[in-house]
Amino acid sequence: MDHVKLSAHNLNLFFGSKQILKNINIDFGENQITSLIGPSGCGKSTLLRCFNRMHDLSADARIEGTIQLNELDVYDKKNPVTQIRKRIGMVFQKPNPLPKSIYENLSYGLNIHQFPKDEIPGLIESALKESYLWDEVKDELKKPAVKLSGGQQQRLCIARTVVLRPEVILMDEPCSALDPISTRKIEELILSLRKDYTIVIVTHNMQQAQRISDKVAFMYLGELIEYDSTENIFKNPRQELTKNYVGGHFG
């Protein structure tokens, strides 16, 4: 691996007294797409949410271990969580556009992070182009975002993340609420984003993991079972458990 962008070391996560993540150690390479796979409840979404501190607002979540973005300690109290999340963006399972116009969905993040006012329109245009949405919406930027189709909404959510120029984009099953055509478009989009961003994606869909990812991590019951190149995981898994899962025997 060339350069480690994001990593977790000895990561444990508890909800109350229940341990959800068990001693996770993982490195994500820069400009790579890594898929997190595993059966429901294995902790893959929970792990994803550790990287941008989305568990901060859960009453009983407790985290041990470290997460690093380059050399920066993500959980160091000295680092404002707002800045962490600006650098590590997130796209959710269900498209969640803000109840505002298409334009405002993108300008919102730029405004709260005080990007220079005169640069905003240009940044929005290029983010929409990067997200393959510009041609469809350029004439109706004032339209409420909720009027877009599901697939368009999800691309808008990706554009909203991309516009802030994050270093890492976390995606939590971004296609699970979409039809096959929209899914295909989003997959193309994810592949094209790879040159500029480090992407970690949680997916249920093993074909999708094969199509888009450079590396795949298989999780089971809160543990990281195997982490390897996509080819090795699907063709040549070292662990029996991985073999059974990718072979469709359970999950």
């Binding site: 404002p80 969580v81 707002t82 800045q83 709260i112 005080q114």
Partner: protein, 295 residues
């Protein structure tokens, strides 16, 4: 404005919001201690034993009789009377609304209940004087209809929306599976309603009655206007009565500050406060039972 400044604003406002939450506790505590503090001043000056055992509330007399009993009896009497009217009427209406009424009828009737709740108590008290009072006088052949019966009818009207709304929620919250199980066993609609649905909703119905009762006990204007305000132990529904709330309303405006009479009014208020608090807590206890039961 940089990131640390934004986070500082966030932390500051979180503290402000939190403070408002703490103030609500302070408010309930403040009300209680204000009442208690002033009542203690009364018990220090007056005669605590007479307060609970005497039979007269007559602050104007030379001796100064401050017994809560006639007021307490009046309050309880008129409130119980109102429950005798409002409980069956309210629960039957709630049953009709949630189990029998078609959807269109329900969407018309629900605003009717909300409108009834919106009518100011002073307007209902006014009707007690001009409408209910004369009617009672005519029916029973008495001089004037400002008495406990009048107060009970008006309080029933005021408690009805509370009882109907909460009972209806309780009845509709009964899981459909219960009814289906009963119907599948061959019980008819009515047996299911009276033997399965209503018993299952019982804790909620009790909660509804408790909250309605709390409302009736604490209501001031209607009883002040329509019950005749005679501070004596009531013997029947055609007697004039005088509740704790009405006594405070009448006398607090005229009494000089910091006198025994002034403190006596706080003493009867603290009794009312504790009674309504207990009734509400009891209602909450039953409402929680219903929640746990269905969870």
């Amino acid at each position: 404005m940089n990131a640390s400044k934004r986070e500082a604003i966030d932390r500051l406002l979180k503290m402000v919001f939190r403070a408002t939450g703490l103030v609500t506790i302070g408010l309930l505590g403040g009300i209680f201690f204000m009442l208690l503090f002033n009542s203690i001043a009364f018990f220090a000056k007056g005669n605590p034993i007479d307060f609970f055992t005497g039979s007269q509330w007559n602050p104007g007399s030379d001796a100064g009789n401050y017994s809560i009993l006639p007021l307490l009896a009046s309050t309880g009497f008129v409130a119980l009377g109102s429950m005798m009217i409002a409980v069956p009427l309210g629960i039957f209406t709630a049953t009709f609304l949630s189990e029998l009424a078609p959807d269109t009828l329900r969407t018309i009737l629900k605003p009717v209940i909300e409108m009834l709740a919106a009518i100011p108590s002073v307007a209902i008290g006014f009707l007690g004087i001009v409408l209910v009072g004369p009617a009672i006088a005519r029916v029973f052949g008495i001089q004037n209809g400002l008495n406990a019966l009048n107060g009970s009818i008006l309080l029933a009207i005021m408690a009805l929306p509370t009882i109907i709304t909460i009972s209806e929620d309780a009845i509709s919250a009964v899981p459909k599976t219960y009814k289906e199980a009963s119907l599948a066993l061959g019980a008819n609609k009515w047996a299911t309603l009276f033997q399965v649905t209503l018993p299952a909703a019982l804790p909620g119905l009790i909660a509804a009655v408790m909250l309605g009762l709390g409302r009736a006990l604490g209501e001031t204007m209607t009883v002040l206007m329509a019950t005749g305000n005679a501070a004596a132990l009531p013997k029947g529904f055609l007697d004039s009565i005088r509740t704790i709330t009405a006594t405070i309303a009448i006398e607090m405006g005229e009494v000089p500050y910091q006198t025994t009479h002034y403190f006596a009014l706080f003493a009867i208020a603290v009794v009312l406060f504790i009674i309504t608090l207990l009734i509400n807590l009891l209602g909450e206890f039953f409402a929680n039972r219903l929640r746990k039961f269905h969870a």
